[in-house]
């Protein structure tokens, strides 16, 4: 290994985050959960739909957070995994007449395999080079979905329309509300799984690799296995998010999964705080609502306004929502002492 290469790999790709700092305290978690359960009862269907999308993107951001914040690998290709998940669900529902809830694990497993396989060649790359390789995956995906060979299944450029599920057991709630609670349940399950994963032996292995790859391998960690595993888990969760997204939006088309989506997810992760799992929902809120706010300020310059807002966030709170949370925690601590 040349000296230059060592210098490059030595530079910490991601600031080390201790694992306890990756989650919220029990009280805060429960308050957040209560809020997520109660709010939909009092708002319009449209807001419920937006909240559903909020959870779905939060899942996708969370997946990226495990990969980048956990194992220190970059990815600009999350939109590709999201697309595979979305198409898997859509195709199974529309061509296979399979229940929507059952399509999600399938989407997750297929994406896990896909991500695991993609992780193999990605092993040789790190930092910006890995980001570029995944970028290629994101640009290729919309075109692959248009290929004539798959057209019978994917609907080609026209995409596929998906039927929205009704609430089961005759529950007196709208389709939107049911889908929201369904998504919430899936999100909570995956969140708990992710927190446990990062606190487990595998999670510690991820973080050891993130902090120093050479030291990690010296400690006996199978670097190649855990790096690809991180890719697989991240892709799997993104796939489930994609499947939920297809059901909520009721439509899949190649144009919905372009590189813009991958960059949005990356942006959501940075704004939420790299390596801080609860930040995913803040990051998701940023990528859903801030463009709308920017558009409200100026239609012609919405992109520029968005840029300014993003710049302000990065400049004022470079560690994203995590930083805000830490400051808030210290303030509360002081108040308690007084």
């Amino acid at each position: 290994m040349s000296a230059i290469q060592e210098v490059v790999t030595e530079a910490p790709a991601v600031e080390a985050v201790p694992k306890r700092a990756m989650t919220l305290g029990n009280g805060t978690s429960l308050a957040m959960l209560a809020l997520l359960i109660i709010v939909p009862l009092f708002v319009k269907n449209f807001i419920i739909f937006q909240l559903t999308m909020l959870l779905i993107y939060a899942l996708a951001v969370l997946a990226l957070n495990i990969l980048t914040g956990g194992s220190g690998q970059f990815s600009l290709g999350q939109s590709a995994f999201y697309a595979v998940g979305a198409y898997t669900s859509a195709i199974l529902m529309e061509h296979g007449n399979i229940n929507y809830a059952l399509t999600l694990p399938v989407a997750g497993i297929i994406c896990f395999g896909f991500g695991f396989l993609f992780g193999q060649p990605a092993l040789r790359l790190s930092g910006v080079y890995l980001a570029l390789a995944t970028f290629a995956l994101a640009t290729a995906m919309p075109q692959l979905l248009k290929l004539g060979v798959f057209e019978h299944w994917t609907g080609g450029v026209q995409g596929l329309v998906v039927t929205k599920p009704d609430a089961p057991f005759g529950l007196p709630m709208s389709q939107d509300m049911w889908l929201y609670y369904f998504t919430l349940a899936v999100t909570i399950a995956i969140y708990i799984f992710s927190v446990n994963l990062l606190q487990s032996r595998s999670g510690r292995a991820f973080m050891a690799i993130r902090d120093n790859e050479i030291a990690a391998s010296a400690m006996g960690i199978d670097v190649a296995l855990y790096k690809t595993l991180a890719f697989g888990v991240s892709a799997g969760i993104t796939g489930v998010a994609g499947g939920l997204g297809a059901i909520a939006v009721q439509f899949v088309a190649p144009d919905g999964y372009t590189i813009t989506l991958a960059i949005s997810l990356f942006l959501g992760m940075v704004v939420g705080g790299v390596g801080w799992l609860p930040g995913s929902i803040v990051g998701s809120a940023f990528i859903i609502f801030v463009p709308n706010i920017a558009e409200g300020i100026s239609k012609g310059l919405s992109g520029a306004v968005f840029g300014v807002l993003l710049f302000l966030v990065i400049f004022l709170v470079p560690h994203g929502a995590r930083q805000v949370a830490i400051v808030a925690q210290q303030l509360i601590g002081k108040l308690k002492k007084n």
Binding site: F46, M53, G159, G245, Q250, D255, E295
Partner: protein, 409 residues
Amino acid sequence: MLSRQQLRIAVFSTAVIAFAATAGSALAQKKYDTGATDTEIKIGNIMPYSGPASAYGVIGKTEEAYFKKINAEGGINGRKINFVTYDDGYSPPKAVEQARKLVESDEALLVFNSLGTANNTAIQKYMNSKKVPQLFVATGATKWNDPKDFPWTMGWQPSYQSEARIYAKYLMKEKPTARIAIFYQNDDFGKDYLKGLKDGLGAKASMIAAEESYETSEPTIDNHIVKLKATGADVFISITTPKFAAQAIKKLAEIEWKPLHIVSNVSASVGSVIKPAGFENSQGILSAAYAKDGADSQWDTDPGMIKFYAFLEKYFPEGNKLDLSVVYGYGAAQTLVKVLEMCGDDLTRANVMKQAASLKDFAPDTMLPGVKINTSATDFAPIEQLQMMRFKGEKWELFGDIISGELSH
């Protein structure tokens, strides 16, 4: 003879009866759905103001300016138009979010001229289940004319397939021995067109010597053109968007291939295709049109276009008259205004669809002479006529009759 008092009573009672009659009928007629009131009609719209298709955002801006003009002139039957337009960045999931915002949060009466085939497909099921009109969608896909399955969705411009059929008809008549090379964009637009051509040629589809497709991400299409030339075809059909249409015209001249060249209507713009490709390279190219081209001097004295230019000057000075999107937005907005006028005081969503489906020989200012909008309960394709044209000198020369590309024929 009636006494003075009797006469007075008679006059008075007649007046009362007359008043009651008119007032009664007026009250009975005034019907509103969400989004319409005595003073306002709320119209929703979704456009790609940002993202890969942002050039089309001009359509939304033109429409906004046109409704400003209508409001300045007193509105529609006294009601002002409140035009709420959102950006979807050409992303279908975002289009769904914006459509739901328009319907559930802003409570618009209808969604008008939302742009993009995939984006409209994404919201079609939702709009139809909510029974909110998805009126005059800005896409040339053929599937919008489906009143049986989607009674709340209606197209506006001629479908790509009907335009392609017109070329097929022309070729079978004028050049029955032609060997056709088709060059198309690999997306819904290109494929819809290709299907139209093949359907139009029918049993004579063997006339097609070669098909070649390109991706919009390709920087140049030169190698495709060279490959098509090698097939020895003598007709070149270019189903391309403006940038690639111009590249193709240039390349054909460069390699001295002189087939009969047909360019799809989306790329028939003098300003954005022919001029950059060079007038000398474009002589004799064929295309078809339904709207007048603002770059064409032959319309300078046309009363419709004079109105259009006056509108641009007063309400939309930043609008470029050479941009076909501006002409498009003006025509579409004018059609909507016509429908809302026909609705009178019955501004329910059902009546909007009913009136939109009863347009008879309506001709917006920017349509070619003879092209008329006709719809019915079973025909949700407003514009179905086009006219062939040949490029000569520095402008298009229309020739032949106005042809209908109706799919049923």
